[in-house]
């Protein structure tokens, strides 16, 4: 499936924003890209255990949505959580520590790549069962509503997840109870090796949400400003008690599904066309085109990010693993009985 949105970020769209905000978007996206690339090499080197699902090419969805959130809002993620976590404010270091299986990782090395999260930053450990996080996100939104708190939940999942019953059950309940949750469907055209056209009769996944009477929009998921704007509107609706909202963010994975995937199931022309739609490239070009930012400024941003990540890698490499004393802890919370 070829890209359906024009490559250029419209000038009048970019003109609406302050330079500093746009630079922040660029930095956030670049941090994800750099992080993922660095991790990929660590994997290929054999330095890291387990498996990874990376998000190169999808940086705009995570950053666009998270920029529309408040810091104390919540986010739930999937088997492909690195970008979401970074965009939600987890540091490269706490994630790397987890990926290396250190006791100092964000989940004490007990979670791993597919379960990174940090509840203090609004992100519970990611859930790697496809579709499994969607009811959980709806339940978090239910709690927020019952507690009359102003926060909302951004719930990320892929095109593949929309075929799971869990998606339908949860979206329907979120709908009938007007819960403050933005369903962020990253439609990257593939669920593992399966093209989205094989799992639906319709050209869009939007109807899977409108079926429950909620607003659903299809968005250019590689234009970070488009994502940001739709997410902001959705967030406002949710905060006003008029949620949920469903966003279908069309994007593309420029990397393998998981470690060492040669992507032979993706047509070459498709990959090439989408490489040209790289959200970082697009923002970069639009920024330079606008004229307020120079190449060397961008390079400075990039360098700083690279250095920070490299530093984090060096720390994480040497961080201590858990000990056998840690094996059986953290299974149960201390019982409160009697309180």
């Amino acid at each position: 499936m070829m890209p359906m949105f024009p490559r250029e970020i419209p000038r009048d769209q970019i003109a609406k924003y302050e330079r500093s905000f746009l630079l922040r978007l660029y930095e956030e996206m670049f941090r994800i890209r750099e992080f993922e690339e660095r991790v990929r090499f660590l994997f290929l080197e054999g330095a890291m255990p387990g498996t990874i699902h990376q998000c190169q090419g999808q940086e705009a969805t995570a950053v666009g949505v998270c920029q529309a959130l408040n810091e104390d809002d919540y986010l739930t993620s999937t088997h492909r959580p690195h970008g979401h976590a970074l965009a939600k404010g987890l540091t490269p270091l706490e994630i790397l520590l987890e990926l290396f299986g250190s006791i100092e990782g964000c989940c004490k090395g007990k979670g791993g790549s597919m379960h990174i999260g940090n509840m203090a930053k609004g992100m519970p450990p990611a859930i790697a069962i496809v579709g499994g996080n969607i009811p959980v996100a709806a339940g978090m939104a239910l709690a927020l509503k019952m507690q009359k708190r102003p926060q909302i939940v951004a719930c990320f999942f892929g095109d593949g997840a929309t075929s799971e019953g869990a998606f339908h059950e949860a979206v329907n309940m979120a709908a009938i109870w007007n819960l403050p949750v933005v369903f962020c469907c990253e439609n990257n055209l593939y669920g593992a090796s399966t093209h989205v056209s094989k799992i639906t009769r319709l050209p869009s996944l939007r109807q899977r949400a409108t079926a429950y009477g909620i607003e659903a929009l299809t968005v250019d998921g590689n234009n970070v400003l488009a994502v940001y704007e739709m997410a902001r509107t959705a967030a406002v609706k949710c905060r006003a008690g008029e949620g949920p909202v469903f966003l279908e963010l069309i994007t593309y994975r420029l990397t393998g599904h998981s470690r060492r995937d040669p992507c032979l199931y993706m047509p070459k022309e498709e990959r090439a066309a989408w490489a040209a739609m790289d959200p970082l490239l697009r923002l970069r070009e639009a920024l330079l085109d606008r004229g307020e930012v120079t190449v060397s400024e961008l390079e400075a941003v990039e360098l700083a990010v690279k250095q920070a990540i490299e530093q984090a890698v060096e720390i994480a490499r040497k961080a201590p693993p858990p000990t056998l004393d840690d094996l059986e802890t953290d299974v149960y919370a201390k019982s409160e009985v009697g309180i």
Binding site: A143, Y332, A333
Partner: protein, 338 residues
């Protein structure tokens, strides 16, 4: 002090916990509906009057609302979710076993999931899909506590303990023990009423109860089978065999202290379980006893349970499926060489 059945005692427990703690709420099918039934077995009957915003009636979507219960629990609520029949837990297995039970560990101990799950079990003339005792399914799932009361006193106290526990707790309730009234009365029901104290109390999770003392054999059971065990013990007593009846009550964790003390005294252990003998909770208890107290045993641990078949519909078959006092007594006689 007031005499109550299990359904009523659970209802009172829920109401008291909801009064005590505004974070507690119920979520399930056909609850909180004016003119409705209070869930499938009257446990939540009428609670919507006092708690109109905290009795959340769901669509039929068990995996969805169990997962939502988990999500709400993570953000500080204390949900009590229920299925109408325990069999429907199978629809929600992913959320229960992959998410709720493991979240705390996966988070390195930073997130907790204080989620109470209620499930009515037992074969009651409804055929194979509304009948199973699925305790076994959760025993090997670390992160979930499991309780299974046989009396109204325990039902109330264990449900309160579950709500206050801070972890996912599954409470199995037996349809024939509820004492549900009106149109929801069950034929074949067994009296499980207790005198319920006026004051707040909990029954701690993880402690078994010795229902009857005896020196010759230990019978371990829970739910309906705890009643069968006691009935069998009475029969056996008349024959000169004194059985000690241990109501396990808490299946995870199992109370090996109480079980061990009894087995050391009697030297014989029999486990009684409703549900296929193979792969049941009884297997774990049998293995656990022999590992821990093997030296004190005068004979191998035995199990009385259902045959390895789905639950049949015809009453004559269902009655043969469900262990009863006669089968328990016969097994004890065989163990005691009578």
């Amino acid at each position: 002090m007031k005499r109550m059945g299990i359904a009523e005692a659970l209802r009172e427990a829920i109401a008291e916990e909801m009064r005590r703690d505004h974070r507690v709420f119920c979520m399930g099918e056909d609850i909180g509906i004016p003119g409705g039934w209070g869930g499938a077995f009257t446990v939540t009957l009428g609670l919507e009057k006092e708690f109109p915003d905290r009795m959340i009636n769901t669509p039929i979507a068990e995996n969805g609302f169990f997962g939502m219960g988990m999500g709400a629990a993570m953000l500080g609520m204390r949900p009590i979710v229920d299925v109408q029949y325990g069999d429907f837990l199978l629809c929600a297995m992913d959320q229960i076993c992959s998410n709720a039970s493991m979240m705390r560990y996966m988070s390195g101990g930073t997130v907790s999931v204080p989620l109470v799950m209620r499930a009515p079990v037992g074969a009651t003339g409804r055929g194979a899909q509304h009948a199973r005792n699925l305790e076994r399914m959760f025993l090997g799932v670390p992160g979930i506590k499991i309780v299974a009361p046989s009396t109204a006193y325990d039902a109330k106290g264990l449900l309160k303990a579950a709500v206050r526990d801070g972890n996912p707790v599954m409470i199995f309730e037996h349809k024939l023990l509820y004492g549900s009234k009106g149109p929801r009365t069950e034929s074949g029901a067994v009296d499980a009423t207790s005198d319920i104290p006026d004051d707040d109390y909990v029954v701690p999770i993880g402690r078994a109860a010795v229902r009857r003392e005896g020196a010759d054999v230990t019978i371990i059971a829970w739910l309906l089978m705890a009643h069968a065990a006691q009935a069998a013990a009475n029969v056996l007593s008349a024959e000169g065999i004194e059985a000690e009846v241990v109501d396990a009550r808490s299946l995870n964790p199992l109370d090996y202290e109480t079980i061990g003390a009894s087995v050391k005294k009697t030297g014989r252990a029999l486990i009684v379980e409703e549900g296929p003998i193979t792969g049941g909770v009884g297997a774990e208890i049998a293995a656990g006893i022999q590992e821990r107290f093997g030296d004190c045993l005068r004979t191998s641990v035995r199990r009385v349970a259902s045959p390895d078949i789905p639950v049949p519909f015809a009453p004559v078959l269902e009655n043969a499926y469900r262990p009863d006092a006669a089968r328990v007594a016969a097994a004890v006689r065989a163990m005691c060489g009578r």
